[in-house]
Each structure stands twice: as structure tokens, then as C-alpha cells.
């Protein structure tokens, strides 16, 4: 498998060498960090804008209507118009709210998702950090988002926000277990937690096919739990609370609300990209072990396109079930996790371990 | 039960009920003091079994105020109309039938709100459509409102 044309490792090393040759070591590091930071920010902003637009179009087509089609060709610049609107909105200051926590909460949520993006490989060599405990790092860091949500609810000094935040907190903490355990299933199959190794291990077939039954079950469980993690889809009772108010972000307006809103879409992107990387092969094209000719043809499509395609497929599935299913009640949601998903996960891990030991995977 | 038998039965229960001619329903005018007992018997006695109160209306017939009850039995399919009158336009009061037919709760509040007839022993007698501090009862014939009603 010859990836040299699309290999970013040499490009990265060229930039690194160029900087260290021409600048003192400290400044070279600073410049590197700035470049990475800006690249991630830009990527984040662009993807965020695109996702908001995509959601509106996808939901419109499912509902037998057209969606935004006035601002720009096919309504493409709708999100930019929305962004302007949010920037110009008045920032409402709550008198009795704890101002420090109130202002920090959206930043915590955004920072948590930034940190998670950093570890995900977009193409060979194109990732910010390559830990050898990559998966553990991503799960740990995305848990930080809960802190932001709880702070938002608490500092708003509003009993409905508090109820919404508590519910949301309970939901996220419960479903993190399922997310973690379903990823553990694949770690057993792959034998490593490092993202780049996981992706390269899928060079002769994606894990969802290699690990057949337990990997497929893990994929389904991961999809359900990650939708619940990000407060999306049928699990959005904490925020689409048409019964009470808008949940934990009731008191936020303008740019701070935009942060929560954006963070939600980016979290969706992150879990979709983890699903794509771990189960569907990341940037690895669709290979069937042994069919060299087929594999060679598949290699011509750049890995970055594969990665984006897979991630957007998973995102589309998540949007699909948000707009189809009614909402679950809070007790039904927690029952689903603790009584159904958790036992299924644990049994699945055992099955996967057994299969790996016996060598019954592809 | 057909109307003739029903008429005998009602007159048997309340001898001083006044029968009124009506093309559609068998109609009686009941003295206010006897209404609650009669209502209880109408519901509980198995050959009468008037369990469905389908309309409760208040009417301002200039000389008096009246409350009209339309009853039906879901088992025997006979229907009945009862009227209770009060001439006191200031403190007119009638016994409630909420404890017998729960459906009467909101319509009685409506009669109180728009016509001013009080209901004794009602669980929550307050205005239902108009705001708490409204003065007067709009459905009365002598209600005058310079601001909200335009007379041609």
C-alpha cells in the first residue's frame, strides 16, 4: 500500500526542520504551536458553520421542504448570517448570577471539544498529537464538557436551568460508561490505543467487518451512547425542553449561546469521527484483504476524502434519527443505559476477548 | 323509561316540582332547596341512573335567574331537563351538584362568573373567564359596560 503521495509525515517534518533551522528552539516551538492552534481553530469554525447548514438542509429534506435557500447559492451562507445575528445580540447580564462561573462555562465546553479534536487523525501524519493512549485521552477530555454544562446551570440562578443541567449531567455521566466500554471492545481487537496504529491496523479491512458480530454490536451501542453524550436526537430532553424552558442554556444569549450551540455540533463531529476512525477505518480506504487490484483502485481516492466521507455518513445517520424519533423521558433514558446498554457492553467485551483469543476474527 | 313513567317518578320524588311544557325534553322546575337531594337520587337509583350531565346553563330571565340542567342516562337512554330558579339578583345561591356530577365544576364557575349565581359548597368558586377583580356579571340583561360594549 503506497501512500507516499498522500503522506503528510514528510511535509510535517519539512516544516519542522525549516523552523528549527531558522529560529531559536523556543520560538520555533511557539510558531509551531500557533500554526497548529490556528489550523485547528479554522477547521473547527469551518466545520461548525458547515454542520449547522447541513443539519438544516438534511432536516428540511426529510420534512418534505427545502430549507434555507436565499442567503447565497442554495442557502450556503445562512450560517454566516446567523453568526452575525448572534454576534449583534445583546448580552444579558443576570443580576444574581455568579458572573465568573457564568462566563467561564461556555469556554470550558468549547475547550473540551478542541482538545478532543487534536488527537484525531485526518490523514496519515495529519493530526496534532499522536498519543499512545489516544482513545483514553479523547474520552477523558470530552468528559470535561460536563463541568461546563453543570456550571452553566448552576450559575444561571434559575431553577429550571438547574433542573436541566442536573438532568443533562446525569445523562452524560451515565452514557460515558457505554461509550468507553464500546471503545474498549475495539481496543481488544486492535491491541492498541494509539489512533494511528488503529487506523493502520485496518489496512486490510475495517474493524467493523473484521470483528464481525461483537464489533457491529459495539458500533450500534457506540452510536446510541454517543448521541446521548452529546445531548442530541431522541435524548435531547435536557435542552429541547418544550415542557419547561431551554434547559441549562436558558439564560445565555448572543455569542455565549453561540458557543454552546457550536460546541454541540462539534461534539457531534468528534464522536462521528471517533466512530469513523475506530470502526470504519478512519482515513484508510475500503480494502478487502487479499484483493490487491481492488485495493489499489481504492487508494486513488485521497485518504482525507475517505475520512470526511465516513464522518459525514455517521453524522447523517445521527441527524436522521434525531428528526424521526420522539424524545425519551429522563427515567426511560437512564433505564436504557443502566439496565440495557451496560450489560450488553460487558457481555460484548467478553465475546470479543474470546474471539480474539481463539483467532476467529478476519 | 318513557316520558310518562319518568314524569310520575320525578313527581313522586319531589311533589312540588312544576312541570313545564317543552317540545324536546321532559322539563321540571325544582325548588332550589330540593335540588341536591333530587340530583343524588337521580344518579343513584338504578332505574333512573342519570349519570351524564351534558349541559349546565345559566339564564337571566329578567324577572329571575335560572340554572338549567340537561341530564341523560347512558344505560337507559332517557333524558331530562331540570330548572332551578332564584329571584335574588344580589346574593342568589343554589346548591352545587359538583359532588354528584364532576363535570359540573367548570360550567358552574362559568355561571357564577357571567351571571352571578353562587353555588353553595362548590370546591373552588371563582371567576373562570374574566379576571379576578372584574365588577359585574356580563351575561345579565341589565349589565352596562360603557367601554367594552357598543350599543347600536
Amino acid at each position: 500500500m503506497n501512500f507516499s503521495i498522500y503522506d503528510f509525515t514528510s511535509f510535517n517534518q519539512w516544516i519542522d526542520k525549516f523552523l528549527y533551522d531558522n529560529l531559536p528552539a523556543f520560538w520555533a516551538l511557539v510558531v509551531e504551536m500557533t500554526i497548529i492552534g490556528l489550523a485547528v481553530l479554522l477547521f473547527y469554525a469551518l466545520i461548525g458553520l458547515f454542520l449547522v447548514y447541513a443539519e438544516r438542509k438534511v432536516c428540511a429534506f426529510m420534512q418534505n421542504r427545502v430549507g434555507p435557500n436565499r442567503v447565497g447559492p442554495y442557502g450556503f451562507f445562512q450560517t454566516i448570517a446567523d453568526l452575525f445575528k448572534l454576534l449583534m445580540k445583546e448580552l444579558v447580564y443576570i443580576k444574581n448570577a455568579d458572573n465568573l462561573l457564568f462566563n467561564i462555562a461556555p469556554f470550558i465546553v468549547i475547550c473540551a471539544s478542541f482538545m478532543a479534536i487534536a488527537a484525531i487523525p485526518f490523514a496519515k501524519g495529519l493530526h496534532a498529537i499522536d498519543f499512545d493512549i489516544g482513545i483514553l485521552y479523547v474520552i477523558a477530555v470530552s468528559s470535561l464538557g460536563v463541568v461546563g454544562i453543570l456550571l452553566a446551570g448552576w450559575s444561571s440562578n434559575n431553577k429550571y436551568s438547574l433542573i436541566g443541567a442536573m438532568r443533562s449531567g446525569a445523562q452524560i455521566v451515565s452514557y460515558e460508561l457505554s461509550v468507553g466500554l464500546s471503545l474498549v471492545t475495539i481496543i481488544i481487537l486492535a491491541g492498541t490505543m494509539q489512533f494511528s496504529a488503529i487506523v493502520e491496523g485496518q489496512a486490510n479491512g475495517w474493524f467493523i467487518f473484521k470483528g464481525h458480530i461483537p464489533a457491529f454490536i459495539a458500533f450500534v451501542v457506540f452510536l446510541i451512547s454517543s448521541t446521548a453524550e452529546t445531548n442530541r436526537g431522541p435524548f435531547d430532553l435536557a435542552e429541547a425542553e418544550s415542557e419547561l424552558t431551554a434547559g441549562f442554556h436558558t439564560e445565555y444569549s448572543g455569542i455565549k449561546f453561540a458557543f454552546f450551540f457550536l460546541a454541540e455540533y462539534m461534539n457531534m463531529f468528534i464522536v462521528a469521527s471517533i466512530a469513523a476512525t475506530v470502526f470504519l477505518g478512519g482515513w484508510m480506504p475500503f480494502h478487502v484483504g487479499g484483493w490487491a487490484g481492488f485495493n489499489h483502485i481504492m487508494d486513488f481516492i485521497p485518504p482525507f476524502i475517505w475520512y470526511i466521507g465516513k464522518t459525514f455518513f455517521v453524522i447523517w445517520v445521527m441527524m436522521w434519527f434525531k428528526w424521526t424519533f420522539p424524545r425519551l423521558r429522563i427515567d426511560q433514558l437512564l433505564t436504557l443505559e443502566w439496565k440495557y446498554l451496560l450489560p450488553i457492553n460487558l457481555v460484548n467485551i467478553l465475546i470479543m476477548a474470546f474471539i480474539v483469543l481463539m483467532g476467529w476474527h478476519f | 323509561m318513557d316520558n310518562a313513567v319518568l314524569k310520575e317518578r320525578i313527581l313522586g320524588l319531589v311533589p312540588d316540582a312544576e312541570y313545564q311544557e317543552n317540545k324536546q325534553f321532559l322539563t321540571f322546575i325544582i325548588p332550589p332547596a330540593k335540588m341536591h337531594d333530587l340530583a343524588f337520587k337521580l344518579k343513584s337509583e338504578s332505574d333512573l341512573a342519570f349519570d351524564y350531565l351534558f349541559c349546565l346553563t345559566g339564564v337571566d330571565m329578567v324577572k329571575f335567574l335560572e340554572v338549567v340542567y340537561h341530564l341523560e342516562s347512558t344505560t337507559h337512554r332517557h333524558q331530562l331537563e331540570l330548572k332551578v330558579r332564584t329571584e335574588d339578583r344580589v346574593n342568589g345561591a343554589v346548591d352545587t351538584v359538583c359532588d354528584i356530577w364532576r363535570t359540573a365544576e367548570f360550567p358552574e364557575r362559568e355561571v357564577f362568573d357571567l351571571l352571578g349565581i353562587r353555588f353553595n359548597n362548590h370546591p373552588d368558586l371563582r371567576r373562570i373567564f374574566l379576571e379576578e377583580g372584574w365588577v359585574g356579571h356580563p351575561l345579565r340583561k341589565d349589565y352596562i359596560d360603557e367601554v367594552n360594549i357598543v350599543e347600536f
Binding site: Y160, P234, S242, R329 | T27, R102, T103, F106, L114, F152
Partner: protein, 375 residues
Amino acid sequence: MKEVIHLPVQNVEEEEYHINMGPQHPSTHGVLRLVVSLQGEIVKSLKPHCGYIHRGIEKMCEKDTYPQIIHLTDRMDYFSAHINNHAVCLLVEKALEIEVPDRVKYIRTIIDELTRINSHQLWWCSFGMDLGALTCFFYGLRDREKILDIFEESFGSRLLHSYYTPGGLMMDIHPDFQKNVKAFIKYFRKKIKDYDNLLTGNIIMQERTKGIGILTREDAINYGVTGPSGRASGFACDVRKRHPYGVYDKVEFREILGTKGDTFERYSMRMHEMLESMKIIEQLIDNIPAGDYSAKMKAVLKLPGGEYYQRVETARGELGVYVVSDGNKSPFRIKFRSPNLSNLNVLDHISRGWKIADLVAIGASMDFVIPDIDR
């Protein structure tokens, strides 16, 4: 030595608090204010506050002539507008002992049933939306447009038509009416299967509605809950069967009763009713007799003195019109027995002990239209 001061200990577990599902709320269908007393997540009691859209229709009618009253009845339960009109027309015709032509009776029945389907489509939209399945809203509205197009073609308006008048109809139906109605029925029979696929069979929806908000038959009769909500509890209250009007006695249709009286049954009743209404229309649409679209009526209608009562089955329950007449061209007193007022009365009773999310589901299944409550 200072005294030890004992502060009163609040029993935190038993603390109740009130929340306001205010007049502006996505889940209450219209301007209704519910003050819900909660303990944690459980509803302990609830008090509805009505009157936000009280327009004094009954008082206004005392100065209007009978044909003018028709226009006001449209505005009560506007999703069953035609059926409300029908009630007043029937009352006037019965009082004046006028026999309307058969053509009128057939057309009125067909339009009543189309109105019923229309109303139930909108109910389905908002039921799905209240539960969180937002796509249902658009599917229901898309199909409702077909009926509204038929109405617009024949009577010129999509809402608040005032098409019936004492003695008959305001004008004859459009020549394409029969063809369009038949095309609609064919289209909708396919679509209603989609509705079942999308919402009825969905496990999440069933978990949220089965066993919730049970209304027993005795309570339904005691509280006077009629319409599909009453029938779901086993109360056989369909006025079309018990006191038939129009041509309901000549058509074959079933009155479907439920046994459990929970939210899912109330939902199923309305789905079945849509099918039954289509059956009624199919039996009548090809057999509309030719003739006049109105009987000969005097210019000024004066009802003889006395009392009159007319009952009809709207999409939400039994509407009663009670008129006390003193021989003039306006009624001395007119009263509309509103089905939604009785249905609202029972909301407190059936939602006790359930959670807030269930309250929304129960309210959606009872299908309130607030202007009918307030009149």
C-alpha cells in the same frame, strides 16, 4: 450563656413547588395557563387558568341574527368549524320545521367528515411534535393542504368558512368537488400507513404513551369527557350514532371503543376515526342527489318562543347548542356546551402522579382547542 436557637427544619423531601406552563407555550395548544404543583418530577395537582381568549361570543350572539351567529360559531373550535355551523343550522331548521333538500344533507355530511379528518391530521402533527418527533408536524400539514385546497376551491377560504346557512348552503359545490375528494381519499389511504410507520409503531412513542394517564369509564361519564378521549375509555358517546343527524343513519360506520383509556388508546381512537371518516365519505361521495343547494327561507328568521337544543359530534366531542328564544330574530340566550371545557376539567384528575413529560403527552392526547373553552 446564650440560648441555642433552633431553626425550623424544612422537610426537604416533601417540598412542593409550582411551575407555570404559561399562556405562551409550545405545548399547550392555544392560550392556556396551567399552574402545575410538582414534587420533584411528579405532578401533584394542576390548576388551569382560562379566559385568555374569552371574546363574549354568547353575549354577542344575543344581538345577532341567526345567519350571523353562524360566523361566530366558526371561531370557537376552528378545526371543526363546519360541524359547529351545522349545529346551529340544524337547530334553526328544526325550530322552524324546515325540511332541507337531500342534496344539502349529503354535502353537509361529507364536508363534516372532511373537517373531522382535517382536524385529526392537525392533532397528529402536534402530538408528534409535543413528543419530540418534529417531522410528524410537516407530514400532517402537507396532507392537510389537500383538504384545504378542496375547501378553497368550493367555498373560497381555507379556515373559517361559514359555508352552511340555515336552510342549506351558501352556494353550490364546485363541479370538481367529487373528483378532488375521491383523489384525496385515494392519496390519504396510502399516507396514513406512513403515519403508522412513523409514529404509532415506534417503541419510544409507545413507551411514552402506553399506560399513561388512565381515565376509567366511570370517570369519563362523571366528568363528561366525550369525543375520542371518552370513547377510548369505553364511554359510547358518539352523537352520530345516538342522536343521528344529516345522513349518518344511512351510512355504515363503526363507533370504536377502547378499553384501557390510556394515552395510547386516545391516540389510536383518532387514527381509527380518520379511517372511518374516509369510509363514510366513500359511501356518500358518488351518491349526492341532484337538487337545490338550499331550501326557500324567509329573509328574516324568527324562531318561535321556547327552548331548543341540538347536539352534534365535533372532532373533539359533543357540542351542544341551547337556545332560549322569545320570538325575535336574535336568541334571548344561546349557550354552547363546549366539549373542550369538560375535557380540561379531567386533566387534573388524570395527570396526578405522572411526570411533567407525561403531562405533555396527556395534554396532547386530549386534544384541546382553547378558543372553544373560552368562547
